[in-house]
């Protein structure tokens, strides 16, 4: 960087705006911000500032730009890719206090929210209007809409409803050099380039999102959920291709393998067929009559996939049971191995079965168990590499890298929803050529000339060490959420 960071004058300027309770400097105050969902790695920032209004955020960003000091925006810090990990010579801008739902419009079916609003709170506030916010990351009880926008986060029901970007209609942001932009609006359509879509999934590199207009959908009136057991993971993978290929549009289509099943049984007391090497959860939702008609088709289709057993949820309680095992899967895995890496690659759905076979072979080769629980309908894998103890971290990382390489080789992606962050920066060139990377870097500099917004993330190189995700997140230990 041409301009060296002038941290001391920045902190002095911030002191004139913020009381000590909102400008954290003491080491003990900084500890909770040292890492995110990528728990094994830490960095202590110079300070954490806690704005309460959009004007304050804009002022902080302008000061950071003036003094050339890098900043990291932070929602709830649940990023699994190190996206919200601090930068040592910079500051963290904590956005949790911008947590107001500004308005809900049942006619336009939109909610306007501040970036620190918790994902699940949007659906709860919209429920009185019979509306809901569709993207449902497993961290939805804690993660913020600002973080979701930065990563274009997904969830189990994104198979039918789409990712975060498909539900963001408008936003206001302050670019890293202090200019404010307002994009989109209440319309589902635009006239001109899709700037809102471009801004989603920016990995925190463009600036800070101040206000988001979210699309709400009518709450589906009916669901049918079926749990199918298979004698091999490969057979379950083939069943996914069959369901996807049938033309039915399930709301969710998820796989759990035997590691996950046994762990979930032990952890939350759900029971799965003992012979099952893998289980598929398929859920249809929507209009009552349409769901019933589709469900009849789904049942006969599933019978032909060689399932060893099929169970249909009889009522809401049983449906909740099916999902309980799924949602608690990650925390349950902590029982098998306290140390694990989570990957997030994507493969074409028709290649799922062979991918799972290849991952099993890699697991045998490295002699490290790999558990699978993931968004099968989208081909979005979440292999959990259960490497047991620290001496095997290097091997586990090598195994993880082979899985990512496999995803790219099959025409997929290194990340479906967790973002590149810090963890996968070295792999970005596996997907994009030098000119593509140069073009993206130039776009970033056009919005952030000093490269102060989340410096060191997403792009390869940079100052930070290579990182990996290990062990359960504090939230998982507390039983609040699970990684998926």
């Amino acid at each position: 960087m041409a301009t060296p960071p002038r941290t001391q004058p920045l902190l002095e300027a911030l002191e004139t705006h913020f009381p000590p309770a909102r400008l954290l400097r003491a080491p003990a105050q900084l500890v909770p911000y040292e890492s995110d969902g990528l728990t094994a790695f830490r960095a202590r920032p110079q300070a954490v500032v806690l704005p309460e209004t959009r004007e304050e955020v804009i002022e902080i960003v302008r000061l950071c730009h003036r003094f050339a000091v890098p900043f990291v925006a932070r929602g709830s810090g649940t990023s699994l890719s190190g996206g919200s990990m601090p930068i040592e010579e910079g500051i963290v801008i904590g956005l949790n206090r911008l947590d107001r739902i500004l308005s809900i419009d049942p006619i336009d079916r939109v909610a306007v929210v501040e970036p620190g609003v918790i994902n699940l709170d949007v659906s709860e506030a919209a429920a009185v209007h019979g509306l809901t916010y569709a993207p449902d990351p497993s961290s939805q009880q804690v993660c913020t809409i600002g973080g979701n926008v930065a990563f274009n986060s997904g969830g189990a029901h994104c198979l039918k409803y789409g990712m975060t970007a498909n539900h963001v209609l408008g936003l206001e942001a302050v670019l890293a050099d202090g200019e404010v932009v307002r994009l989109g609006g209440n319309s589902l359509e635009a006239a001109g380039p899709d700037l809102v879509g471009f801004f989603c999934g920016h990995d925190g590199l463009f600036g800070i999102v101040l206000e988001i207009t979210l699309r709400l959908i009518p709450t589906p009136e009916h669901q049918q959920t079926v749990l199918a057991a298979y004698r091999s993971l490969e057979a379950a993978g083939h069943a996914v291709a069959t369901v996807v290929g049938s033309g039915l549009l399930p709301a969710a289509l998820e796989i759990m393998d035997r590691h996950i099943l046994r762990a979930a049984e032990a952890a939350v007391g759900v029971r799965y067929p003992p012979e099952a090497a893998a289980v598929l959860i398929v859920e249809l939702d929507g209009e009552h009559d349409a769901v019933e008609a589709d469900f009849a088709r789904l049942e006969s289709l599933m019978q032909k996939t060689g399932a060893s057993s099929l169970r249909v949820a009889r009522d809401a309680d049983e449906r909740a049971q099916f999902w309980k095992g799924r949602k608690s899967a990650f925390s349950a895995v902590g029982r098998l191995s306290p140390q694990y890496l989570v990957q997030d690659g994507v493969v074409p759905r028709t290649r799922l079965a062979e991918t799972l076979v290849a991952i099993e072979a890699l697991s045998e080769h490295y002699d490290i168990p790999v558990a699978n629980v993931f968004h099968a309908g989208d081909g979005n894998l979440h292999p959990l590499i259960l490497f047991g103890d620290d001496d095997r971290l290097a091997e586990a990382e090598a195994l993880a890298a082979e899985i990512l390489a496999l995803c790219v080789r099959l025409g997929g992606s290194i990340t479906g929803e967790h973002g590149v962050g810090m963890e996968k920066r070295a792999h970005l060139p596996d997907m994009f050529g030098p000119e593509d990377l140069a073009m993206m870097a130039a776009l970033r500099r056009a919005l952030d000339p000093l490269e102060i917004a989340n410096r060191g993330k997403m792009f390869p190189g940079g100052e930070a060490p290579a990182l990996s995700s290990r062990g359960p997140h504090p939230l998982e230990i507390a039983g609040i959420a699970s990684r998926e």
């Binding site: 932009v181 001109g192 380039p193 994507v346 593509d436």
Partner: protein, 396 residues
Amino acid sequence: MTSTRHEPATLDEMAATIRTHRAAGVRLIGAGTKPALVGHAPDPSLQTARIGEILLSSRRLTGIVEYEAAEFTITARAGTPIRALDDALAENGQSLPFDPPFAGATLGGAIAAGLAGPGRVRFGGVRDFVLATTWVDGHGRVLRSGAKVVKNAAGFDLPKLLVGSLGRLGALAEVTLKVLPRPRVQQSARFCFGNFTSAYEGLVRLLQSPLELDGLEMVEDATLLVRLGSPSHASSAPRLARLGRVLGIPPDSIAADDEGATWRAMAACRDLQPEGCETGALIKVALSPRRIPELEAILRSASWARRYSAGGAVAWIAVPAAHYDRARDDASLEALDRHLASLALPALVVRGAHLGEARRRDPRLGHRPGDNLLARIKRVLDPDGVLPPLDCSPTA
């Protein structure tokens, strides 16, 4: 002042054309069905192209590159006609979910125009289905953005940025789309309300209900046109009856033989601009249901043909060529521009013969959210203005 037309047959030729003609400037055209977007008047005498400017057509860059039906993704070259793409998909019981309105358009043109048809009410617009693009920017660089799978969070989302980019940010060479099953059975009905307010209330009621509709158009004579689709052969009759109960009036069913044609005509805006009478301008307004009454009041007083499409996400307006000028001030295109700006509604002139110079430069009307961001992006992708400009104000 005629310009030369280039029709590259390969990606490399396309990039080379842009590099070679940087000084002259390059306008991108697909099949030329939406001249207003290109900024190129079909009548050569009216052409505003700079001397020696190149018209770069993707017409010969055609063909499906990859299509695995079971994957529900398709990759095709930008010059592939939408009609050809749709035929290939239909063979496998699939279709383009955003329901591109002009079947004569090319794939590249459809993406760069960012236009969706009535079917967008069910599954979403162009932005929701573009997964990956191969394209050439104003530097003449060949770029590959996105990933050819249905989910990807790696790198900035350039494929979305190119949706609606109007040939101003880069030339599309290849596009990967997510596709969906074509509904096996579709059934439609009209609900005639007799007055605008009741029809509008009906529209809002349907949008708030959990009913999943394949089409919901509000046509001028206070009528809602509703479409139901199903992947199974199950009859839609009970669902139609339910619609009637929600709306409080009985459905007037459309005969199965007329069903498809009715919706194709809607998609192509034949109700607003009959075939062969495409004089005047066709305008798309990006709308939301709450704003319909305000816009309707303005359009009614100007007595322009209009339709509220895709559940109120879009208004289509036909402005007769006679109304372009300032003679009848309240009904001119300039007046519409001002009204839309004051309502903060973005709009686009999609088709239009004999438009003035300014409109051909930048076909957008009304509100232009994010132009300060767009100006920065344009400076990165096309700093020398090789591609046509966008009248976005430079950074304040």
